[in-house]
Assembly symmetry: C2
Homo-oligomer: 212 residues x 2
DNA sequence: AATTAATAATTGACACTGTCAATTGACGAT
DNA sequence: ATCGTCAATTGACAGTGTCAATTATTAATT
């Protein structure tokens, strides 16, 4: 009888609008992500998105979920390609930083945009958890193998906080004195390695970075 | 002839509106910080604030500046009360965390609110710089006294990023163990101490970043 | 004390925004 | 060709930031 939207149609429109929303956010900031602007960019009427999303917060959650999914994908791939837990942690850290720096607006919309009722979007929460699972696993395995010691969750959060800290300082232009971010992030990775090492001097050797 | 606003009058109104704005932000989030709402809370008309502020972004900058000033004050006081650079660094770290946790909304509006053209407010920039000066000085003195070694700015940013990292993860409810924040922040402080401690392995060389 | 002129404060208005109700459009089965 | 149903659009409303026009206020001068 009537035209019925396929599940793929819905998915496609949602993804398209998410991409447009991220682009608008990148170009004009959070106030550029207006429903009317998005609809104009999508070539539809202003309220058409309401058939595919509950409201604006729902769109934002979908955008964030989509980006967390990307991050989770690359993290899982990196983790799968480095079997040894120690180097895997370092590779995960570098991959995390690379993701944030090469997609600064994605990272901003993932973290800096404060979504109060995040728990209301279980699919988003799931992708968030998935994105940090590889690092959690690597930490646990590194503890099991004796490379580091301590509480897995504590260590994992210290690592994550360190990475998230420099990234968000960089992304909000808080690094002054012409600090080159590449150097600083290397220092951070090295510092985190020393911070969680069971034997700092030995771990420093493990995490040594080639000098120029 | 006419009524002329004293400089103190202007300062008083600005401060009052800043306090109201922070309270509104704390109670209803960023969308609760509307000019009309603030004016109603202040008991004036909607456009009266426009005589004291250029626009809404100006109000936000004033709120942030006022809070950075508070942070700078407590940091300077802490720094003045602990002469030894090493313990002073630890005291500064604890004080920083305490400030953020006891005034979460102030911290949020200071950092999490993304203000694109922050450089346009030199008084805000000055308070931001002032707030991190004590830690910078302590790091430099700790290096001079041989307690730690490395590049002062690098170390200072690593410390700051570590603190800012756990704090922002906590404030955005990203920690799986929300009630154990005290423990986690202690772990972070200890980790940062180990990360920057003087150590046989060398620090502060220039590192090469490998491409992928 | 009345007048005056500059300044402070208010109101009107406009272009936005998110969102819902009512309406129109499109299309496959009958 | 008609009908029934979903999809899409338009109308409308409350709310926002902000500027122009207007009114109110007050301190010095007459």
């Amino acid at each position: 009888m009537p035209k019925i939207l396929t599940a793929d149609d819905v998915l496609a429109f949602r993804q398209r609008l998410c991409d447009l929303a991220l682009k608008a956010f990148a170009e004009q900031g959070v106030e550029g992500m207006s429903l009317r602007g998005l609809a104009a960019a999508a070539g539809c009427s202003r309220t058409t998105p309401y058939r595919y999303f509950k409201n604006k917060a729902d769109i934002l959650a979908a955008v964030r979920q989509s980006q967390f999914q990307k991050l989770a994908d690359v993290s899982e791939n990196v983790a799968a390609s480095v079997p040894d837990p120690g180097p895997r942690l370092e590779a995960l850290a570098r991959s995390y930083i690379k993701f944030a720096i090469s997609s600064p607006d994605a990272y901003r919309v993932m973290f800096s945009v404060n979504q109060r009722d995040e728990q209301r979007y279980p699919e988003l929460v799931h992708q968030i958890n998935r994105s940090q699972q590889p690092m959690m696993t690597a930490v646990s395995e590194a503890i099991d193998s004796g490379e580091i010691e301590g509480d897995p969750s504590n260590i994992m959060h210290v690592l994550w906080a360190g990475l998230h800290g420099i990234i968000s300082l960089e992304l909000s232009d808080k690094l002054h004195m012409g600090r080159c971010f590449e150097e600083l992030s290397e220092v951070m990775i090295r510092s985190l390695g020393r911070a969680i090492a069971s034997n700092p001097s030995r771990e420093a050797a493990t995490y040594r970075v080639e000098e120029a």
